[in-house]
Symmetry: D2
Subunit: 139 residues, 4 copies
């Protein structure tokens, strides 16, 4: 598949579409795999200092959304229709999270991607997720 | 099943455990079904004024967590191990979300619940979710 | 929602479409809930005499498919696009399984349903599942 | 992780535990990835000649089960507690299916794996699945 948007264009589009949260996410690389860093801050933490489940869900969600856009270009209206997530290990305290997303299907109306999430520097994933998106018809 | 914690005790425990977010959630009733209201605020919205996916995930997550605690008492360490969620309709703008959670299994080590989420006043659900929790062994 | 096909028409259509397996399933009732019985036979069992996971998956799948058809009529090409399932208890040996399915969304292109599966005569479900179907465009 | 059972020992154990279906599955290789072939037969097909959803579910299920056993040895009682699956493309008619499974977590009580399923010779997966297993305590 060809790349339709690179790191810089994706970052600019995310900033436009999701100004409240875009600052939390850094797109580290775009290719067969799309890699996103979550800059972990106070807001993302649970008592005990680990990242909350909904924050990991948000990271998985944005990573697959970016992976889709990297192929089809700036389509804000791609919406998540379904997701599954497994929380497998406690994230390491005080570390950023790194999401590695890949597209498994990019159809005319549906796209499917999956994601592994790691505490930076660790080999074993803290979570896995798969996400389904509905692609709006081209107008 | 017996009720181990009522609305007031659950609300106090949630406030203690999750002070950053507890103010967003109102426990409306506890019983066969546990009903939680999300007081929708700016922070929860996507452009266009609808509630974000991660916010709905957080609402589903907290609802099943509360349903478990309402049966087994104040066990902070019950942790989500897996979840699936389907986003089925766009939430109505400017309306609170209402989650209706039920427990399907409350085992010694695993609990499973499911949730329907509605825009207040609507009959058709905006999302469904199922959640699996790991219950810590009694010390 | 209106009922487009009743028990007898659904059973005849299932027999036409899935002759190899239709004999295993009995449509017990059609309405807000669609109820299907799996007549458990040797082929469905694991050692120890309990029904296998893939058999329960098949029961959930056929139940939501029938629930969709009961509303939209005989559309053979509705296909499952995604599913989640939780196996919560061991089915009772020597008992039929009863699936209770409901439709949560019936859109133009996607339908979502969920299912609880019981060993006949038991109050606690052995499994829960949610299923997403793609509806073919009307020709 | 060390390999506790190789292809031959896994095949023998599967034959013992699941004599009805073991003949359908060929363990092609065991390692970081465990690869299983489904020898597609009449019984697995839907009208139109494509493999049925429950058959793909069964293939995903057995693949992760074998991946777990390849690490921990012959523990028949590892049971599936949850699964999600996305059906992404129609399997090619008249071709075997190839499942590639990997373990993402192998804990004391829970294991998580995921699987991609391909029609033999195709680069794009027909399905993806994640599976959670409960590991019985060592007695």
């Amino acid at each position: 598949m060809e790349i339709a948007m690179d790191e810089a264009r994706l970052a600019a589009f995310m900033e436009e579409e999701f100004p409240q949260v875009a600052g939390d996410f850094v797109i580290e690389s775009v290719g067969e795999e799309l890699i996103v860093r979550l800059k972990v801050g106070e807001l993302h933490l649970r008592p005990g200092g680990t990242v909350s489940g909904p924050t990991m869900f948000a990271l998985a969600d944005v990573s697959v959304w970016l992976a889709i856009l990297s192929r089809i270009g700036p389509v804000a209206l791609a919406v998540t229709t379904g997701a599954s997530i497994d929380f497998m290990r406690k994230p390491a305290a005080g570390r950023d999270l790194i999401a590695r997303a890949r597209l498994l299907k990019l159809g005319r109306v549906l796209a499917v991607g999956d994601v592994l999430i790691f505490s930076e520097g660790e080999a074993a994933p803290v979570a896995r997720s798969s996400m389904t998106y509905s692609i709006p018809p081209k107008g």
